[in-house]
Amino acid sequence: MRLQRRSFLQSAICGSPILSSVINKENLIASNGIGQTHFAPKAKRVIFLFMTGGVSHVDTFDPKPALTRDHGKEIKADHPEIKDRPGYERIFLKKPQWEFQPYGQSGTEVSQLFPYVAQCVDDIAMIRSMHTSHSNHYNATLGMHTGSFSFSRPSIGSWVTHGLGTENRDLPNFMVIAPQQTYAGTQVYSSDFLPARCQGTLVIPGREPIRNIQPRITTAEQKEQINLLKAINNLYLADRNHDTRLSAQNSMMDTAFGMQTAVPDAFNFSQESEQTLKLYGVEPGKTTGFGWQCLAARRLIERGVEFVELIDTGSSGNWDAHGDMMTHVSLAKNVDQPIAALLKDLKRSGLLSETLVVWTTEFGRTPFNSSADAKGREHHPWAFTSWMAGAGVKPGIVHGATDEHGLRATDDPVHVHDFHATILHLMGFDHEKLTYRHAGRDYRLTDVHGTVVKSLLS
């Protein structure tokens, strides 16, 4: 295992004039906490698995026998998604299309859609009482990433990297692997008002995974160019050597140069055993599929990246199964084996004990529809399932519950803000204290909300 995290520029950032120019002073006050957690962290890093479009909880991780029993029964619900919607004057319960069965020692029930993840339930804390504040993809996706359902705010990955304050020599600390853009655009991994170094770096699997990472000239030519540049810069620096920004430009060029090797190296699976590739379901030479993303995530955290987000699909052709629940089959197939592989692989290497793995979506899907025979399900902010595994998480438990039809999160509900508070807690941060002064006030990921879900903690 290679952990290459290095403290780079940190001393410069905390004590020298670079700060005054790089970060304005307003931020300095709020940035004192950089590099210091509030208490001993359980997790050193996060892998955040985001399923775009709204995964149906009652068809995946939240078994509802009563929903099958009452299939076709009419119900009443003042539901935001169907309010005043023509054709939805009457609504009927619709049974799940997949069977559930208990797995492992814990006996946590999982549906046929996730046969591989099911094998890992003893490592998972299932949260069946998630709920959120919006029934639109855009807003709910933004909320799940930034804690704000309307406004542009820093994403959770930016908050974590801001809090940890480490400088990674060769790779950015917050990386987002997404074959396509999810809802709400680049806002979901934006650092917004946090320092630019907390910005999520987008990785698009394929030829040039990171913007401008692909050399246009030979390595030798690049080296020559950088050396010449440094020599020229040093002449300029001669009577300006107090200005650390200028020398930082030189070292940043080294960092960028290193990234050109480090990034392809991180995404080069040729040293991975056939067995590993098989475990993740990765075909040699191909960069498509969630298996590639999961294996890449493992390799990134091995290289010191602190927050890796994997987004499975884009803003269309995703889990948004209005028309037909059967589309869940291929989407689940894309992620199921790779996610289980990631958990097993991390466990095998011991990394799971210091890595938090989070699986979520933006909202659930309605346990009802305008007719019980309708093939799809609608958006459902009232209840959905997320899960956590790994560092600091109580394994093999189920937290919270929905009512018998999966309509409302009734027992120990966990709002998105609580979810965020818990992730930050596991990373060693008090979500009320991880703040940043911007435009005259202190902002935090959880706004004025959020309670750590203690029963999820080991």
């Binding site: 406004f151 401008n212 690049q222 200028l246 960028a256």
Partner: protein
């Protein structure tokens, strides 16, 4: 002791702000509160209060008090300029000792109960349900359910009901913290005795003590200045602070440095070698001011300084709602801003036009002028939110109020949307007083997913002209439709004739890939068909189950019984297809290709070279159905293998297609041939129907239709172009309700539209209008207005303002480093008629501006260069870097750009699943780049471009690897470097070529040490010298000297 010093709690900062309406608990508050417990302040600080609903007698005790009377108030609480008057309960024979006893009872018996059982959720920090139980004013005001306590009447007090679990149940069951009966009895006794308790000591407006607010530095009138401001006077202030802080006065910079500094400063572009020469040659004392004058007269000045303003007003070219719809007309506002700076439009006028669309002093009868309407683009470009943007207009108004406050007043007004401002003297009523003004205005509508296209755009030409344009368009459309009308009438005539005369001879199914012979008649024998001249025979091809299309080969022969030698064969059509005629006459008989989707239409549009095969020719009207021939002898492999020398019909889903034959002479005719499904891919094949239409007029009618079809095809007249602005006009004037906790679902009493309390709270004189004009006047007359813009100008010259927080002049903002100077700048603006250019001249004329960049020693002593002993070196902005690259490459387009190449509005189908995401390349200056909101612009994001979603008072200057990667690998960078190097490839001499390059980007010749390095570099590229030169170009364009301004 368990007493709490209220002033301490009040002062305890409440750092967070909720934009949502649910509340959660926190242990943190208890911990903090515990640490705050200590002796109560002396009694003399305390005032006991109750309230008298009936009395609004201002002569009553003149103590300001933050009472609220929302739901609690039995009478309508119309706005009464901010402060509420209270009456001390002193008429019951109280004396000081009784009062002290009561307070003591409260503090010793009651407060601990409240503290242990209630404060976690109901205190100053967390007002669950809107209720705080910290002071009499809090509980008398109550929360969402009304007053919590009615003094002397426990049974009417909600608090008692709640702890008794009668209606509300508090503390909630799950807290396991219910009061015991004995504790409830204490509360009962206390309330029965009058619920006496000490009030908070200080009266507040919003988050600031009243007295402090009245004295807050930035709200004070501008200090009077006795003599006109000069550069020298400015220097005196700067110099005295430099001395005060024992800093060195750095010398004046050399001319080259100065020219580079001021040229980038005023235009965002580098100087040219000629400009340097002129400056060097000008030995007069006014040399520098000549340069300044020249630059201020350059149109590039407005682009650069207008862009500063666009940062502040978070300008963007998309709406920001869930689909991020383009704003195709926002550019007019952008360009208006650039023009306004170029023309030195007085800044108060500039501001008022943006807010009100016109100058309030102008003739009220005068119609809004176009320029003013374009200026209101400032308001219109406010971000839109959500799926159906009308449902989230309260957030758009928040964005407007937020930006208005920050941009013009340096106040964070939007903090008061959900509650009074936590730090500044802005109340929630203030917020909704302004909210009403914008809710009384009508904003251009950008469209959104459920309501597709833009509307409420404001025409920039007069009503008459609009009518003329529209009338002309209507006529064009009418002409267009009349042409279509004649055709469709003809088609209907034919349809009627056909339906009256139809006789089906045969109908059969052709299974996938099969060939079926055409039977000669319905009875299966070979009896000929009797036809008169002009009658029609057709074979129609129909998709089965409407599954669409199969390419169907037709082989059809028609034999005259009368003349054995006379026959017609469909193969004869194959070569005729190239002639482009919709009807094909062969030996007096007309062949027709008929679209039978609805009323019969002839397939009329010839298409050569179908699927890039020259032998394939087709006739279509739309994509399908079609008639197609393969003119080659050989088969061609396209979507399927099409045999050579063959004719095909290709139906579409529910789009039948037919081949027809018009009888040339009365007689009997025998038919034969075959129908083949030539595309054996699907599963369902096709069907065909042979039909005889015994109507002799059909031949003539089809001939007429054919003639109509042959006329030039009418083109739909384009939509009329009416120049429009994306702006704001007055709507229905109305006061807005205060939203409880910012939630529009919980409207309270309406708040009169008015100015902020702290500034006097004037109500609208003309409530029949939106109030934007009066608001614009109030703003422009406020001392904050001139201080804030004066400070911005200073900041944009020096890199930091005299007030470091340019958008915040409130209590959380920074104090001015040079307060008198700030007032002098502001006063100068007022007295100069808000001429920004005159302020530029004063500032640029100072020694402070012209000093060398900060040196090592001065930086050590004053790391942030607050006292300006030297100039602050700065990195170029994102726009300056890109413009300089284009400039170096010689490709920059310095003309004004207008609209972006957005797709036509009519075609927009953006959804949250497929939002607008285009990026448009351009060689115009970067200030003209299309700036989207949902996706950061990929280039601008790398170099700290402005945030298009919120006001950017000052650009960051981060150093991150993405920037270095840009200089290593970005295609645009490589392109510009190559252009830069080849621009000078005709210069043979190495030193001369290096000088030319250095002059272009650094306005100087190459130094000897540099020359040596470059020569060495070129030496290693002897085999391919130009590669070496491109390398040098890349080095120059990514060097610190390129990126930083001394």
């Amino acid at each position: 002791m368990t007493r709490i010093h209220h002033a301490q709690i009040v002062a305890n900062q409440i750092p967070f702000c909720s934009t949502q309406t649910s509340w959660s608990n926190s242990d943190d508050f208890l911990i903090r509160l515990n640490t705050k417990r200590h002796e109560i302040a002396s009694n003399s600080e305390l005032i006991s209060v109750t309230m008298d609903y009936e009395t609004k007698n201002k002569a009553a005790l003149q103590t300001h008090n933050p009472f609220r009377f929302r739901r609690a108030n039995p009478m309508k609480w119309n706005h009464r300029i901010g402060f509420r008057f209270i009456i001390v309960l002193c008429g019951f024979g109280w004396n000081a000792s009784t009062r002290a006893d009561e307070f003591d009872f409260f503090e010793s018996q009651v407060r601990p109960l409240l503290f242990d059982h209630c404060y976690k959720c109901h205190s100053e920090k967390k007002t669950g349900g809107g209720l705080s139980l910290e002071s009499p004013s809090d509980w008398l005001k109550g929360g969402d359910s009304g007053p919590a306590i009615v003094p002397f009447d426990p049974d009417s007090s909600l608090l008692l009901e709640a702890v008794r679990y009668q209606s509300l149940e508090m503390p909630p069951q799950e807290e396991n913290n219910r009061l015991t009966p004995a504790q409830i009895a204490v509360l009962e006794t206390w309330i029965r005795r009058g619920a006496h308790a000490p009030e908070r000591v200080t009266a507040k407006i919003g988050g600031m003590d009243h007295d402090a607010a009245k004295k807050w530095w930035s709200f004070q009138p501008l200090a009077a200045i006795n003599s006109p401001l000069t550069s020298k006077l400015i220097d005196q202030q700067i110099d005295s602070q430099i001395d005060e802080h024992n800093l060195p006065h750095l010398p004046i910079a050399d001319k080259r440095t100065l020219l580079r500094r001021v040229t980038y400063d005023l235009t965002g572009l580098p100087p040219t070698p000629d400009e340097l020469q002129d400056f060097l040659d000008d030995s007069s004392e006014q040399a520098f001011s000549h340069v300044v004058d020249r630059l201020l007269d350059s149109p590039q000045y407005g682009v650069h300084w207008g862009r500063h303003w666009l940062d502040v007003v978070r300008y963007a070219d998309t709406a920001g709602e869930n689909t991020d719809r383009p704003l195709p007309h926002a550019w007019r506002y952008r360009n208006w801003v650039f023009d306004a700076w170029n023309q030195d439009l007085p800044f108060d006028e500039f501001a008022m036009k943006q807010i009100a669309g016109r100058l309030p002093s102008h003739d009220l009868q005068a119609e809004l002028d176009g320029e003013g309407i374009i200026a209101t683009g400032y308001l219109a470009v406010a971000r839109r939110f959500g799926h159906d943007i009308d449902k989230d207009m309260h957030l758009t108004y928040e964005d407007v109020i937020d930006n208005l406050g920050k941009s013009f007043l340096g106040l964070s007004l939007s903090c008061a949307r959900c509650h009074d401002h936590k730090y500044d003297p802005v109340t929630q009523e203030d917020y909704y007083a302004l909210y009403g003004i914008f809710a009384s205005s009508k904003f251009s509508y950008p469209g959104c997913e459920p309501f597709g296209q833009p509307k409420d755009l404001i025409p920039l030409v007069g009503e008459e002209q609009v009518k003329t344009i529209q009338a002309k368009h209507r006529m064009e459309i009418a002409a267009f439709e009349s042409v279509l009308g004649v055709e469709s009438a003809q088609s209907e005539t034919i349809a009627d004739l056909m339906s009256q005369s139809s006789r089906v001879i045969n109908e059969q199914r052709v299974n996938e890939g099969q060939t079926v012979p055409i039977p000669s008649n319905d009875s299966g024998n070979s009896k000929p068909i009797s036809m008169r001249k002009g009658e029609l025979l057709t074979i129609t091809i129909m998709p089965n189950e409407n599954h669409g299309a199969d390419t169907t080969q037709i082989v059809w022969q028609i034999q005259s019984d009368l003349h054995a030698e006379q026959s017609w064969h469909s193969d004869e059509l194959i070569d005729h297809f190239s002639k482009g005629q919709p009807t094909i006459r062969i030996r007096q008989a007309d062949w027709l290709l008929i679209d039978r989707s609805s009323t019969p239409q002839l397939l009329r549009n010839p298409n050569q070279n179908v699927s890039n095969v020259p032998a394939l020719v087709s006739f279509t009207n739309a994509e399908l159905p079609s008639a197609l021939v393969n003119q080659s002898k050989d088969s061609v492999a396209v979507w399927t293998n099409l045999p050579g020398r063959a004719l095909f019909l290709h139906p579409g889903p529910q789009q039948n297609v037919a081949i027809g034959w018009i009888c040339p002479e009365d007689g009997s005719y025998s038919i034969s041939g075959s129908i083949t499904d030539s595309h054996p891919a699907g599963l369902d094949g096709v069907s065909f129907r042979v039909e005889h239409f015994s109507e002799p007029a059909l031949g003539r009618e089809f001939a007429t239709l054919s003639e109509l079809n042959l006329r030039p095809k009418p083109v739909r007249p384009p939509d009329p172009v009416i120049p429009v602005a994306y702006g704001v006009v007055d709507g229905t004037p109305q006061n807005s309700a205060l939203h409880l906790r910012g939630d529009p679902e919980q409207p309270q009493d309406a708040i009169d539209r008015r100015w902020l309390d702290i500034f006097g709270g004037k109500v609208l004189k003309r409530p029949d209008k939106s109030g934007r004009e009066e608001l614009a006047e109030w703003i422009a007359a406020n001392p904050l207005f001139s201080r804030v813009i004066g400070n911005r100008i200073w900041q944009w010259h020096f890199g930091q303002g005299l007030v470091e927080t340019a958008n915040n002049f409130g209590s959380r903002g920074a104090a001015p480093t040079h307060p008198i100077l700030l007032d002098q700048l502001a006063s100068h603006l007022v007295s100069s008629g808000f001429s920004i250019k005159s302020l530029h001249r004063l500032i640029l004329g100072t020694q402070a501006y012209q000093r060398c960049s900060q040196s090592g020693p001065s930086q050590q002593l004053d790391p942030n260069n607050r006292w300006l002993s030297g100039f602050s070196r700065r990195r170029l902005t994102a726009e300056e870097i890109r413009d300089s690259l284009l400039f170096a490459g010689g490709e920059i387009n310095l003309n004004t750009a207008t609209s972006h190449p957005f797709p036509p509005e009519r075609e927009w189908t953006y959804t949250q699943h497929n939002p607008f995401t285009a990026v448009y390349p351009s060689n115009h200056r970067s200030a003209f780049l299309m700036v989207p909101r949902q996706q950061r612009h990929p280039y601008l994001a790398i170099f700290d471009g402005a945030d298009p979603n919120t006001s950017t008072p000052r650009r960051q200057q981060t150093i991150v690897p993405a920037q270095s990667l840009y200089f290593l690998n970005a295609p645009f960078f490589h392109e510009q470097a190559k252009l830069f190097s080849t621009r000078f490839s005709n210069i043979q001499d190495t030193r001369q070529r290096l000088n030319a390059m250095h002059q272009t980007v650094f306005t100087r010749d190459v130094h000897q040490e540099e020359f040596d390095l470059y020569r060495k570099h070129l030496g290693s590229h002897a085999e391919s010298l130009e590669t070496g030169w491109v390398g040098i170009a890349r080095v120059l364009l990514s060097s610190n000297e390129f990126l930083y301004i001394d």
